[in-house]
Assembly symmetry: C2
Homo-oligomer: 82 residues x 2
């Protein structure tokens, strides 16, 4: 398992409820790809959302986000943390 | 206090030691601006680094990173989390 940070753009005006609902949609199906979305952070003003996950691959992250209805614009493995 | 996610680009090849050293340089001076850098994640392959912080303003985050020798390319308040 590796950690990934993914980025969604164009989410200007996203509300707390919408973020929580999107996160729930990921959690509902993530186990099918052995992904776990640990946390999400959103800036409604610039419309950027960051998601931190553990997953077997970036492709698995991409598939879950896509099937949940919010494809990611970037997905980066983040093997280093401090 | 608010939460911020900032992004550094152009860090291709960054090592675990370099990330930890950069993080330590932030921690050493962050209190002067009431900032706290909570975590950092790096992708050495694409050269992108994400830092999560608590701070009174984006400007305070910007000043600490700049003084620590690694100015951020983007700083976003992230008032929403899930």
């Amino acid at each position: 398992m590796a950690e990934f940070m993914d980025v969604h753009r164009g989410m200007k005006g996203i509300t707390s409820d919408q973020l929580r609902e999107s996160h729930r949609a990921d959690l509902a199906i993530e186990a099918e790809e052995q992904v776990h979305f640990k946390q999400a952070w959103a800036d409604p003003e610039s419309g950027v959302v960051y998601c931190l996950s553990e997953a077997p691959s970036a492709e698995a992250v991409r598939r879950i986000h896509q099937r949940a209805g919010h494809p990611a614009d970037e997905i980066h493995p983040v093997p280093l943390t401090a």
